[in-house]
């Protein structure tokens, strides 16, 4: 279980993340939402040790992650950042194989191969496994990166805007897979999302940030409410119940209530 305690980050004098304390509930999908510049990605980077915090600490099973050896930590928490502009020419299978690096240091054994195969199946990538990453479309490449993280087989998976540059079909596909990771394999997923409706439909919990502070933290249904959303986004957002899903309508506030 990951606990964040009093985490802050300053860029120069500007406070980007301000005294954030949250608990990541195991076995759930938690979405970080909020306007641009709210500090969502920065917070995720600090939780995942990619970035050092200026104050506060991140605890993994009550232990400060800075005290955990990076080799050990990489078996427990994985992170995928939003910009993966890599110019390394690897095949999909080779990339996914590197997900096993924390275990095998690159020399894959039978168990590693099985995990790689499993991850490829999970992401439906077997047809593409021998293709080079630079020959793939954005969506296919994103799926390959997620497969790598699945092969890494950590309890907690952190994803920074994984739906960026993806069309609707692939976005839905990826969210469904994340749901399955949680429901079938008991993983914990933390995800930074821009599209509030994906957060509403697929996540169990939502943490809303604004100006570096947590302003809402709770169950999805409690946060996808017009009043709460108004507070987060400073705009009128109408919430509609549609086949058990709560959908936010925000495209034109003049149309609301009709």
């Amino acid at each position: 279980m990951i606990q964040v305690r009093g985490l802050s980050k300053l860029y120069g004098k500007k406070v980007v993340v301000d005294q954030v304390s949250i608990d990541i509930v195991p076995g759930t999908i938690t979405s970080f939402i909020g306007p641009n510049g709210a500090g969502k990605s920065t917070l995720l980077s600090m939780v995942s040790r990619l970035m050092d915090a200026d104050t506060g600490e991140v605890l993994l099973d009550k232990k400060n992650i800075k005290k955990i050896k990076s080799g050990e930590l990489s078996k427990k928490v994985s992170i995928l950042k939003q910009s993966n502009q890599m110019n390394v020419r690897l095949t999909v299978k080779e990339l996914v194989g590197f997900g096993r690096f924390p275990y095998s240091k690159g020399r894959l054994n039978d168990q590693d191969h099985a995990k790689v195969d499993e991850a490829l199946t999970y992401m439906d990538l077997h047809d593409l496994e021998d293709r080079y990453l630079d020959e793939l479309s954005g969506g296919q490449r994103q799926r390959a990166f997620i497969a790598m993280v699945i092969a890494q087989d950590t309890d907690t998976i952190l994803l920074d805007e994984p739906l960026n540059n993806l069309d609707m079909k692939h976005s839905v596909q990826i969210m469904k897979i994340l749901r399955r990771l949680v429901d079938e394999l008991g993983k914990t997923v933390v995800i930074v999302l821009h599209d509030i409706n994906f957060a509403s439909v697929y996540s169990d919990r939502i943490v809303a940030l604004k100006d570096g502070k947590v302003i809402k933290d709770g169950l999805t249904n409690d946060i996808i409410q017009s009043t709460a959303l108004k507070e987060i986004y400073d705009m009128d957002i109408h919430v509609q119940q549609l086949n058990n899903c709560r959908i936010c309508v925000y495209f034109n506030s003049a149309l609301q209530g009709e």
Binding site: K69, F101, G106
Partner: protein, 316 residues
């Protein structure tokens, strides 16, 4: 690009190389151990072959590691100032120690090569405009600055003649007793192979490396130490061989990708084959004279480099 074909190619070329030269030697001559031919073979031909293979493989691997760590296909000892820093180091060692021994030269040159490469990597980190072609241009400029400093002080100290020996790569002077330093590159290459997977991960970027539990900075610095070691041994024994570390890894990458553990053997073999070919051409073209290897590699290599630049749109 099958590894088997590369090995066969290298063996065939090696045998050819051993029997190409000013004095004709046939395999039959070697039966008589006392003959003049056997002596030439052992003192000159064999060391030359070993030196070519080690230098070719070494420089190619140095380039491969640099390209992976800098995440830029056009960075190599030639385009990152490593070669020029090495020369500056050799000059300093000559000025500091009147009759510098090989070991002194090597140590000082190594320090300079490493410092020069690290400095280039620092510049690289600070450049916001990360265009694939812009970076090596900066590297070339950086190298030229170092080179001018070297020339200036060499001129002042009247050792220009001496320095120019390291300007041009040349295998014609490779003889027993003059190439053994190159053996250092054998353990270095083995270490590079053992760390290949870490270099590949580092090539995916700092965030990726951290996610997979790798100390990014440590691996980058370690890789650059290997690069500096290889470069120094080659420059000290053979001289500068431009472009080799640039074109060989790029060609292999096109066919085999960037999984270093898989491409390292290919890169080493192809580098040795390419250098061997250039050397033989240089020996045959104006027979019985010789075209220096750096000139041969420079001409052929720059042509291939241009070709790689133009096809960049499709790749890299």
């Amino acid at each position: 690009m099958k590894i088997r074909i590369l090995i066969i190619g290298l063996v065939v070329l090696s045998i050819c190389s051993l029997f190409v030269g000013v004095s004709s030697i046939t395999p039959m001559d070697l039966i008589d151990y006392q003959s003049e031919e056997t002596q030439i073979f052992l003192i000159s031909r064999l060391p030359r072959l070993v030196a070519i293979i080690l230098a070719g493989a070494g420089m190619s691997i140095a380039g491969l590691i640099m390209q992976s760590l800098s995440r830029n296909k056009f960075v190599s000892p030639t385009t990152a100032g490593t070669l020029d820093a090495t020369r500056l180091g050799i000059l300093v060692s000559m000025l500091l120690f009147a009759n510098a021994s090989m070991l002194e030269k090597m140590t000082v040159a190594f320090v300079f090569a490493l410092a020069g490469t690290l400095l280039f990597m620092q510049i690289l980190n600070r450049i916001k405009f990360k265009d694939a072609i812009f970076i090596p241009l900066v590297g070339l400029m950086f190298g030229n600055i170092l080179s001018s400093i070297t020339t200036f002080f060499a001129y002042k100290a009247d050792v220009i003649q001496n320095m120019s020996a390291w300007l041009q790569g040349d295998f014609s002077m490779m003889m027993k007793g003059r190439y053994e330093l190159l053996y250092i590159s054998i353990p270095v290459l083995i270490i590079a192979y053992l760390f290949a997977n870490r270099f590949t991960v580092a090539g995916m970027g700092e965030d990726f490396s951290k996610n997979l539990g790798i100390h990014y900075r440590r691996i980058v610095n370690f890789g650059l130490i290997l690069v500096a070691l290889i470069t120094v041994t080659v420059v000290l024994t053979v001289g500068m061989i431009p472009f080799l570390g640039l074109i060989i890894p790029n060609i292999v990458s096109i066919f085999k990708g960037d999984h270093l553990e898989k491409t390292l053997p290919h890169t080493a073999l192809l580098g040795a084959i390419f250098l061997l070919l250039c050397d033989m051409l240089g020996r045959v073209l104006i027979y019985p004279y010789e075209i220096p290897i750096s000139l041969m590699v420079g001409v052929i290599g720059s042509g291939i480099f241009l070709y790689l630049l133009f096809r960049r749109r499709a790749y890299a």
